[in-house]
Symmetry: C2
Subunit: 412 residues, 2 copies
Amino acid sequence: MPILVMKFGGTSVATLDRIRRAAKRVGREVANGYDVIVIVSAMAGETNKLVGLVEETSQFFDAREYDAVVSSGENVTAGLMALTMQEMDVPARSWQGWQVPLRTTDAHAAARIEEIPPENIMTKFAEGMRVAVVAGFQGIGPDGRITTLGRGGSDTTAVAFAAAFGAERCDIYTDVDGVYTTDPRISDKARKLDRIAFEEMLELASLGARVLQTRSVELAMRYKVRLRVLSSFGEFDDNAGTLVCAEEDIVESNVVAGVAYSRDEAKMTLISVADRPGIAAAIFGPLAEAGVNVDMIVQNISEEGRTDMTFSCPTDQVARAEKAMEHAKATGDINFHDLVADTDVAKISIVGIGMRSHAGVAAKMFATLRDENINIKVITTSEIKVSVLVDRKYLELAIQSLHDAFELEKTA
Amino acid sequence: MPILVMKFGGTSVATLDRIRRAAKRVGREVANGYDVIVIVSAMAGETNKLVGLVEETSQFFDAREYDAVVSSGENVTAGLMALTMQEMDVPARSWQGWQVPLRTTDAHAAARIEEIPPENIMTKFAEGMRVAVVAGFQGIGPDGRITTLGRGGSDTTAVAFAAAFGAERCDIYTDVDGVYTTDPRISDKARKLDRIAFEEMLELASLGARVLQTRSVELAMRYKVRLRVLSSFGEFDDNAGTLVCAEEDIVESNVVAGVAYSRDEAKMTLISVADRPGIAAAIFGPLAEAGVNVDMIVQNISEEGRTDMTFSCPTDQVARAEKAMEHAKATGDINFHDLVADTDVAKISIVGIGMRSHAGVAAKMFATLRDENINIKVITTSEIKVSVLVDRKYLELAIQSLHDAFELEKTA
């Protein structure tokens, strides 16, 4: 029988009633003729509770013990979901990560999936089991101890299972009903996309869209797993949600697929840096070591051997960045006059694979913002994306005007 | 290094603060030169919460899924306890049942321990680990799935580990500070025993004393594990609690070690049963099938081919017993005039290995009760125990007068 992977996040299994609703969706796919692998998260709130217990016990905790504790939330949901399926007369059983086994690296609390041998679960499918409920977010390391995959690990688990089992599709059930052209809370013209290309989704995810974790999209793209994002609270509808798929599966698309944003960006400028070969490495090396996630980087035109270097990072890393730069200055590794942090900025990005074949997309973006008198502070571009930093007060205006200018409310 | 097993029940690990207090006791034994295996229960209330979720999900649940869900409570405590030991700079790690592995039968939710290979944990002790924190109450079945041991499983886990590792002692930390001559809430003359023989503890446990589960005492007796019961809330004291040990380790003891009682007993009498060979089997077979735990049995003198048959069982099983007997009568398997249930009785027992060598202990018990005008309704005896059923209103009076008569407030 064809295999389907269905993943339910924490809010979709927050109560027994919601677990029953999720189970009905699974039962429907079983009736459609699929053998189903269900990946479950912990009931909403449980993981935070367990993390809280660990952090209260130990400030610099042993990540192996953290994993042993935190993984228990998913185990509870998996058992309850299996029982719920059985109550509906669907043959089902639960699997903890080590039972599958889902083998990972030994990077506890942030492990990467290495291998999912399908034999154990396939044997049970062959024996008549229709639903394998797998505790997400966890695996077993080379040392035989429990590992967890870190943030977004449940989505990644689901995609990895879909790849390992050659699933027809991987459905990610969440609390939103798909991927939108932009945040519907900011623009009431935001439109749900029926399909979006992996590359676009990847950019949107890393640019702040909260729908899917970057890692899971990367994995889906690499193994060509058809990924569907949909709401576990909506009506049953086989065409619900947004399908994230290969570019060639999308017949027509807009030049720009969507407008993404990130509110908590800060712009940092090192004023009058001595300009010499290797200066970028001397600046961004210490920042990386200090754990600062530098996003955009702009180097201004050099004058008389000195230059200004601007970069952006999350606002909550500004203090860390300042400390790292002051330290590098004190040790003589770099030399600058001043470090200016502007924490009142936001990043706006337009994303679309159509940009590759259409000229003038960036120019149209800049013109649109100019027409609204929005000053652009930093620009970066990639093959399918243009990002700008603007004053945060213009965030909504910028998004709405770009959404209008690229006519995102209309289907291609 | 010599090995010590220390077991902490749910109330002893109910909060992070209590886990820290328990960890200090463990740290003290490490400083004393022991390698310690710590067996932990789930934090008080957690197991009931998980059982509640399972029962709400499914009335006739799959015990394998029940085990997968319910075992997670102990896993959380084990990880937190290991972290707490590490915070105290004691090398420690947690072990889930399947990691040890603690192998059990496949009787899910009521599995029995089959084997605990000590190699994995011993290897870590040899490498310098000082504390192995093991999640109690759980193991792995022949099918590779998680099992739980049923009621009292954590005590039994502790004793089984002590046997498998040849531990010097198994300390059971609980919320009482030892075994008493009788319930201190009933007699203020109740005295804590320093030592008690396995056989006596076994009788006391099965007669209603709540300190240790029968199964764990049986196992300790079979493998000669020195078992100590003590409070996790008292001061540090190497002689605290009560040592449950072999008879030969007790130099002097009273003839009677203690007075036990059970409040929720019912006396059932089948009036005028046709007396024929096989009648006892015809009565107690159906009762056993109906899940009635028959305790005492008395057959009165037969008159003209008919007899009265009296037995006792827990009060909450009376309805079940009545149904089984009416059914057996309806099918013609047995014949009786009436079934009379007396649910206002209590069972009082005196227990002591000294009875074996002392005559007249039972006679003294009966005389004591007669002097208080307490009517005895049923009597049963074993080598080291005499039990009687009396009207429940005499419970306290009977216990206090027997405690006085046998001078239990005095040390031997």
